[in-house]
Symmetry: C2
Subunit: 456 residues, 2 copies
Amino acid sequence: MSEIPYKIYLNESEMPETWYNLRADMAHKPAPLLNPATLEPMTAQELGGVFCEELVKQELDETTPYYEIPQEIRDFYKMYRPSPLVRAYCLEKKLQTPAKIYYKFEGNNTSGSHKLNSAIAQAYYAKKQGLRGVTTETGAGQWGTALSMACAYLELDCKVFMVKVSYEQKPFRREVMRTYGASVTPSPSNETQVGRKILAEHPDTTGSLGCAISEAVEVAVTNPGYRYVLGSVLNQVLLHQSVIGLEAKIAMDKYGIKPDVIIGCAGGGSNLGGLIAPFMGEKLRGEADYRIVAVEPASCPSFTRGVFAYDFCDTGNICPLAKMYTLGSSFIPSANHAGGLRFHGMSTTLSQLYHDGFMEAISVAQTDVFEAAQTFARVEGILPAPESSHAILAAMNEAIRCRESGEEKTILFGLTGTGYFDLVAYKQFNDGTMSDYIPTDEDLQISISKLPKVDK
Amino acid sequence: MSEIPYKIYLNESEMPETWYNLRADMAHKPAPLLNPATLEPMTAQELGGVFCEELVKQELDETTPYYEIPQEIRDFYKMYRPSPLVRAYCLEKKLQTPAKIYYKFEGNNTSGSHKLNSAIAQAYYAKKQGLRGVTTETGAGQWGTALSMACAYLELDCKVFMVKVSYEQKPFRREVMRTYGASVTPSPSNETQVGRKILAEHPDTTGSLGCAISEAVEVAVTNPGYRYVLGSVLNQVLLHQSVIGLEAKIAMDKYGIKPDVIIGCAGGGSNLGGLIAPFMGEKLRGEADYRIVAVEPASCPSFTRGVFAYDFCDTGNICPLAKMYTLGSSFIPSANHAGGLRFHGMSTTLSQLYHDGFMEAISVAQTDVFEAAQTFARVEGILPAPESSHAILAAMNEAIRCRESGEEKTILFGLTGTGYFDLVAYKQFNDGTMSDYIPTDEDLQISISKLPKVDK
């Protein structure tokens, strides 16, 4: 056994005191969000009607490399951070690989994922601005749970619009949010104008993320003292999530470990952008080199089969346009797809970095992902979230290639969360009834052909 | 903020290398298990037909104070241990108490509780003995999950009889076990003689723990290469669970913290016995004094309303008799009671200690427990298991008394697990439909009057 422990926990004094803003080191900055009405870059004032002031500042700031993490947020982080950096000794043994595999495990908190890192930050700035509460949407429920926890801690009102089909099929996620004092409304609802309109037109609809976003934004902008918050895609979210990568890097530096490959799952980019932040920073500054790999589901392959273009962030087409890798905002991943990572687009920052050749992307099929998840669970003990298991599969494949080539690569991947609320999907896998869905070229051509015409 | 961190993690080099056998320091040893046919103490040979050899030795050994933890088990422990000792700064602030509250959190593993500490030990000794597999029963499913994880790691066959009503109402627990490769059978089943007999007599039964034990034992004793394992009550389980208390004590000693009161929830005693072990040892040896408090549900009050007598450990009356605080083996806690802690009896070791005045016991009502759980979740972030929340409530009440008296007591309690699979109960609480059940004196008189007549 090596002298490197199974799990590296930083001391509280070693924990990061700043977040890192990756954009500061990018030569090509991500393209600005555009106002959907004017197609001009969104101003701070326009964004301020929807988001908190400090978060708007963070969203637009392309030059400040480090933001001090407020003491109150650091105190909250101490309740569930530092997260462990784990050496996957048992997985290495199982794969008989000379590779050294590490994972940064973000699932050891009640939200079950890394989402809490940004939820507490967004709730904190809302509280500091004197707001009464925040609104958001949630699909699978990780983000809604995280936000509920942060709001309970800060005694801030939290209103979650939960996609109706998830509200009904994931009653336990809903109960966690209610236990933390959030109000959870199935969307579409009668509480908003947009909800009533949709219900009148489609009384039997089971809802969509796009509709839930529209309802959450409407409540935020029409109720004094409320703002809207979002758990992925945005630059501010990547900023807060950089705590993942910063902790990982401090821990690795402490033991003289340098990863050759860094692997993360990618939906909207919140985890991947956070995990890679300081490593990508070194790469951008020419101080070090790393292979960085985004892993996305074959059923929603934004990077690997999408186009780099301006598109709406929501299916309802009311949100700003972002320049990103996208499958088109009308693309809806198959209901057959079990986990998250269902977003048609991608963080603008990660999109620019991918476009500029600083990272790779691969897509993987669902049944292979669950096969990897099962293997990982049995040898490493942790039951992983389906999202995280995309990264597990890619890391395992990398380690198997090392077995074949004899290379002793060091692999770091992000284990974003646990699968305790994803057991319907595990049951499908255990029963042998899970299948894969890969969109056809025709499917993608249709949704991509509907992209808005933007001459930028 | 004090210099004591929010969470104290031991370094791997500081982790205990031995388990502590509390019985070695007891002047009055717990009474021996009796053979239900002969009413004579069970011999090693008799026990060896059901349990692994090494575990029989541990079960009967009243004199060896320390057992070295085999390296393989210590390696497994490193995958999810050390568990953090957490200073509940936010709970203290919420309660405005001068008390200092610490909790030892055992929920950060996929089984969701401390049960894994003994599961891996029992599976290890089965493997070492060259057995093919183990059988067990599970009700709510924490123990079954833990055993499945341990068996997957050691590539040992694992057969779980799950009380039929739980099998149907807790499908997610069942899927976790299946994901770890265990076979999970609803009990009563057609796979055993006893199961077929019960089904013939009561075709519509939803099963009971007593019946599931009978089936698991039958499969173990009739299949070569199998033994039966149990997750609580037994001395061997308390031995393995002593790792909880040992880690807590090492962490507290490291920072010069001495608890005044130690609080744990009590069902069969696995957690409480483990948490208090080294502290109780000091108390028994006259080296230190601590108040030690067992907290049990008002719906199943073995310590506070039971009698100290020989009784069957199972409702089917096929297992050995144990001298313990018991409500009578025919006592069935109300179905209304949400969590675990449903056992009619109690660890013989803890029973003797309670009888000899070394610890206190209180009982608490279910709705108060969930009220405390909700408060705790909101300020400390962790969604606690209903079982653990009994200890939370007692610790909070102790801290509130300190606020009133001005005493700066140091309180340590065991947070045994998380409530992710208990959300049906949380929903009842959130909906205001949860109620309390407290057995009447007449109820208890009936079940206690049926105790076996044993002249020891």
